[in-house]
């Protein structure tokens, strides 16, 4: 199946938009009318055809635009991509995982030929044809992780396992909601989750860490996380907060549908075979509220979720300035009818 790539922008004129298909496949994160943390981890097994779960690495219509946005972020701030020296083996694990999956699942767009350690990678959407030696960084134009993640949607963290803990020791992070790889690199699991409210107290992270330390090869898992973003910005990093923070003050009842976006992260966790590291993928999907309300169940449910969201989470997710206006706007789509359980449209 061939994907028609868009050329929209996640900055400047904010021309980003989802196609009808893009809206229907959006990974809506609420399976009931309220939200609280849970260890909502499930096996990352293939889902329905056309859904974001169809393949383990999802490539969608925004691929080319997103890669262009990443290149712009890196031009301004190369520290968005960093690896501590001991993570080189894990970097190669990542190259193999991404190239293998993309070539297998999207043969129209990517191909990989292997002859021993001599690999040829073809990326048609980005016009790349690269011959390199697997395991030899000198044969690629960038370090291995940077090379392949400049060609893969979503953020990527390589997490080392030692001393009974997980350590954020490498990553490519340009599409994040308000956390910084440069600040967090080298932290352990509890440390990098430090700023998250409420979840530590109810033991979420203790249990999640224990689970992840035993994560097995070939059995990746996934979960959804969410927040909201004003304007379709991929890069809402703390580094650039002084540039995008002002957006939050621009929301009015007249422009909620156009400005406010539901931002969902499809997070994947994979045990990497050569290095024993864990790959943490964080794929960001944006949905304008104008687009969201074309699905009546989602409109009703988001209205109810925002009304009942604990204040700590409103604060942490940065919704304080525009939550009330958004609820007000969404109220006209909520007729009080009960919603069916589960994530999908009715």
């Amino acid at each position: 199946m061939s994907i028609a790539f868009t050329m929209d922008k996640f900055r400047d004129d904010f021309s980003f938009a989802n196609s009808e298909h893009g809206i229907r496949r959006f990974p809506f994160p609420f399976n009931e009318d309220k939200y609280m943390y849970a260890i909502n981890i499930e096996p990352h097994t293939p889902g329905p055809v056309g859904s974001v779960f169809e393949f383990q690495i999802d490539v969608d219509e925004h691929y080319v635009a997103e890669m262009r946005d990443r290149a712009l972020v890196l031009d301004e701030d190369p520290l968005r991509c960093q690896a501590l020296p001991h993570m080189m083996l894990a970097q190669w694990d990542l190259v193999e995982l991404l190239m293998t999956n993309m070539a297998k699942d999207y043969p129209d767009h990517f191909s990989l030929e292997k002859s021993g350690d001599r690999w040829r990678w073809i990326n048609r959407p980005l016009s790349i044809d690269q011959i390199f030696t697997f395991g030899d960084p000198a044969t690629l134009p960038y370090p291995p992780m940077e090379y392949i993640t400049r060609q893969s949607q979503g953020d990527f963290c390589l997490v080392d396992q030692r001393d009974g803990n997980l350590w954020m020791d490498a990553g490519m992070v340009t599409t994040q909601p308000d956390w910084s790889l440069d600040f967090d690199i080298g932290m352990n699991f509890m440390e990098w989750h430090g700023p998250v409210p409420l979840a530590h107290e109810i033991g979420i992270f203790d249990r999640a860490l224990k689970f992840l330390l035993n994560l097995q090869i070939g059995r990746p898992v996934r979960r959804l996380n969410w927040t909201m973003t004003i304007n379709p910005r991929l890069d809402t990093s703390p580094e650039n907060y002084h540039k995008w923070g002002i957006d939050r003050s621009t929301v009015k009842l007249e422009n909620v549908g156009e400005k406010v976006h539901l931002r969902v992260e499809l997070q994947g966790l994979w045990r990497l075979p050569r290095s024993n590291a864990i790959l943490f993928t964080i794929r960001c999907y944006l949905l304008r509220l104008d687009e969201l309300v074309t699905v009546p169940k989602w409109a009703r449910r988001l209205h109810r979720v925002l009304q009942t969201l604990p204040s700590e989470l409103v604060d942490y997710k940065g919704l304080s300035r525009y939550r009330d206006t958004t609820i007000n706007w969404l109220s006209k789509f909520d007729d009080g009818v009960p919603t069916s359980s589960g994530f999908g449209p009715d």
């Binding site: 600040f183 440390e191 430090g194 580094e239 923070g245």
Partner: protein, 197 residues
Amino acid sequence: MLFSGIKSRPLYATLQPDPFARFNLVLVQGEGVNAAVRLLECAGDQFRMRTTILYAGAAQAADRMRSFQIQRMQFLPTIETLLVRVDGFLATAMMGTRLYTAGTEGFMGQVIQHAGNYFIDHKSIITEHCGSLARRIQCIHCRGATENVTTNVVRCSHCGVDLLVRDHYSRRLAAFMAVSADAEAPGTLPAIEKIFR
């Protein structure tokens, strides 16, 4: 002892001698002298013979450490010069070397940061917090560090952005995170309070 709910911030303990260490390097700043003196009092002669103390701070405060027979003691005028000396020691140090540090959080943070460059695991360093709770911060926008911050809002000493200090600490940077304080409403700062004393 400094205790907080900030998960990314190290927990500091009290200085206790490691009786097995072949070489002890004790790094002291300011009021950390109190902790160092307590350490030397409870340690035996054997320990003191294998111990080097590097101290940054007022000379007279250090007099109390002089009465112990320790292998070596050096006084440095500033934290920066002390850290240069630490680099010199660690460049040739062997397994069996134990690090101790006492002083402000900003000082200990930089000691732990330097030790990491020499492959010393932060969990193996014995620490004791003494003195002020002023924070060393890093401006997330220009990445410059500002020392001895006592207020919740502070102007970046490098790029001039007004910063709000967050409760998130990086061991690698030896600093708390600070982000623009008025990004969402330019010119409107939160009430400024002196909270890190």
